[in-house]
Amino acid sequence: MDLSYSDEEKAFREEVRSFLAEKLPKELRDKVAGSDGDGLTKADMERWHAILNEQGWLVPNWPKKFGGAEWNAVQKHIFEEEAAAADAPRIVPFGFSMLAPVLHKFGSQEQNDYWLPRMLNGDDWWCQGYSEPGAGSDLASLKTTAVKNEAGTHYIVNGQKTWTTLGQHANMIFCLVRTDKDVKQQEGISFLLIDMNTPGIEVRPIILLDGAPEVNEVWFTDVEVPVENLVGEENKGWTYAKYLLTHERTNIAGVGFSQAGLNTVKRLAKSEMAGGKPLIQNPHFAARVAQVEIDLRAMATTNMRIIAKAAGGGTPGIEASMLKVKGTIIRQEINDLARRTAGVYAMPFASEAIEGSNAGLPDPLGAGPVAAKYFNNRKLSIFGGSNEIQRGIIAKVSMGG
């Protein structure tokens, strides 16, 4: 047992830190600070991707032969921790850490040769076509169909996907589609790459309860997809999907984001006055902050234990589900604290319909839209396998039920 980082790891952290200090543009940093990056434009995110790509750090999880850095779990953790602390934008994961691993493992040489460079150069913006209306967490019940045409050159895709994050920016979508109705759910699913400029595709924004236009519905009507865009074998899509989901699970605890968020809360509570004293000195408020900080410290260690296990070649089992549940509880609690801290100034709201921007909102603390953030992050415990689903998995596995 040893809780300290090795010299190599410490050196790596230094390297990351100086890179961020040097290369992370202030405009991006300011947009991320407090608001968790909700204010970032497509151009902002592409700019950050380019900067990372130039450094060779855009796809740290990729194998070297595909141009990746092959960082181990500890390195990845250090980067995530430092990036969050420096208010760096998050890397948009859909292409780099969700689709790419599937292509690496199941894609053809041609597919890898064609799609990966475009991804790195920012030629393509990928989004994910998994969830469907009414399916909720029961992913395998998907209804979007893909039927091969007479000539066998194309799949004809019909159906609807939903909760497609940042779909409004995307020109490509990877989809789970049903290619066989007559077998049991999991066995009739295929994995398709679809150009969103193909006729018959319509993207409609879903406005979230905080007014954020970040997720979308995507409608498919007789959309023609070349058969070359099938990944792996037909009807094997469920296998690829599950493989992808395990990769989606990295950084699931969000320790870095929680630490950054907690620091923001402390900063705000030092300037906000309550009863003539800084709020941070109020024992009841201080108790809330300390409580979540103590929980976060413990979870950070749990996270490191699992990372060390992964670095040692072990595969995280239900620990991932445990981190998802506890991690979202802690992040949401921190969002709640930020909201409380702002007091009456949490009430103002940049109504898109009217002002069209944050400008002119009173914000003496520089807290940003903390209340909107609080509501937006209710999604953390709902999307990506709700906490109820995770609890079910934990119980099933641990009780062998």
């Binding site: 309860l209 309550a274 409380r340 009456v344 319909a353 509501f375």
Partner: protein, 377 residues
């Protein structure tokens, strides 16, 4: 001991509930939310005609209610429907202060308010006062026969629409002193008043109100010089009762929507409400609903009591509503799943009303601390 509504209140409740069910659905409200004024003058007038505003004033003041339970009945229904029109600000807060303290000339305004013909706002909180009622820095200085106001009032709800502002200012003492505070009834278009408006997350609009050498006649003062604190505290208590009742109504809607969703939405082939974990969580919400209803009854029932009894119950109730409200809002969203994350679904607005209520008149921690202090006193 009697927990039945009087016949009058029962009638008011029924009328109000029916009217809002027919006239104030999600789509209507979302149009109102996207409008520049953030309210519907049509709805305002019709509700005034139904007696909603009159019910908030006593007979002596020209109304037909004004007691804690009258306020609670009205606002529970407004909350149930997620009404965003500023009845609380115009009638309970600013209007109430005019009715409580105003001389005959000033009090004449109350009749206009009850008829729905005029809007008011209470300009009291300041950027550094958070939830403390006595941290007023805005100054009121005599200048010949006139009084000159200078200061910055923060997040003044309904300021843009208001014809008159009730402004608190300090004639003596330091921020944090109860003594030295006065109230002034001032036309909103008085020279030196700048109003910078914006929308609120849970609906309605507010503004930063800047007072630069606002010169008003001494006759604009409401009540005695420097002695306004008691009235401010009492009216804030009434506003807290209104807000807690409104939150209770909103919580009723949230749990009703959730119950309905749990019984209709199917997953893995069964209504999700038949999954025991969700069923038990729903039970816990319903238990907290009873707690919340009782808390509102306690605050409303003691609003006419002596100061300590009144304030102890207000703080106990605000604290409980803050906790129960957050639980109901968050769990209702969680049990719904994705659909509740979308703005077009009724719960989205309702949940925001419930949670954001904790940011006005003191949050759950503020009132826990206050309850401890009051109980110890």
């Amino acid at each position: 001991m009697n927990f039945e509504l009087t016949e009058e209140r029962q009638m008011l409740q029924d009328t109000l509930r029916r009217f809002l069910r027919d006239r104030y659905d999600t789509a209507t409200r979302n149009t109102i939310l996207d409008s520049a004024t953030g309210m519907s003058s049509e709805i305002w007038t019709e509700l005034a005609e139904l007696g909603v505003i009159g019910a908030l004033f006593t007979e002596e003041q020209g109304g037909f209610g004004g007691k804690g339970f009258d306020i609670a009945v009205v606002f529970e229904e407004l909350g149930r429907a997620g009404v965003v029109e500023p009845f609380l600000d115009t009638a309970v807060l600013a209007g109430g202060l005019v009715a409580d303290l105003g001389d005959d000339t000033q009090a004449a305004l109350v009749e206009e308010i009850i008829d729905g013909g005029c809007q008011l706002a209470f300009a009291h909180g300041e950027p550094t006062s958070r939830y403390d009622l006595n941290r007023v820095q805005t100054s009121a200085k005599a200048d010949g026969d006139n009084i000159v106001l200078n200061g910055h009032k923060a997040v003044v709800v309904n300021a843009e629409a208001a014809d008159h502002l009730v402004i608190s200012a300090r004639e003596s003492g330091e921020p944090g002193d109860d003594a030295g505070l006065s109230l002034f009834l001032v036309p909103a278009d008085t020279k030196g008043i700048t109003i910078q408006g914006y929308a609120l997350l849970a609906g309605g609009r507010a503004a930063e109100v800047m007072l630069d050498d606002v010169s008003i006649p001494a006759s604009a003062r409401l009540g005695k010089a420097g002695e306004a604190f008691a009235a401010i505290e009492a009216r804030t208590a009434a506003a807290a009762v209104a807000q807690c009742a409104e939150t209770l109504g909103a919580m009723e809607t949230a749990t009703a929507l959730t119950k309905e969703y749990l019984m209709t939405r199917k997953q893995f082939g069964r209504p999700i409400g038949t999954f025991q974990a969700l069923a038990h969580r729903m039970s816990d919400l319903l238990i907290e609903m009873e707690q919340a209803r009782s808390a509102v009854i306690n605050a409303a029932g003691h609003l006419e009591g002596d100061r300590k009894t009144r304030e102890v119950n207000v703080s106990a109730t605000k604290n409980l509503m803050g906790r129960a409200g957050r639980l109901v809002a968050e769990d209702s969203i969680q049990m719904h799943g994705g659909i509740a994350m979308t703005q077009e679904y009724e719960l989205a607005h309702i949940a925001k009303r419930i949670v954001m209520a904790d940011h006005r008149f003191g949050d759950t921690d503020h009132h826990l601390e206050r309850f401890i202090a009051l109980a110890a006193a």
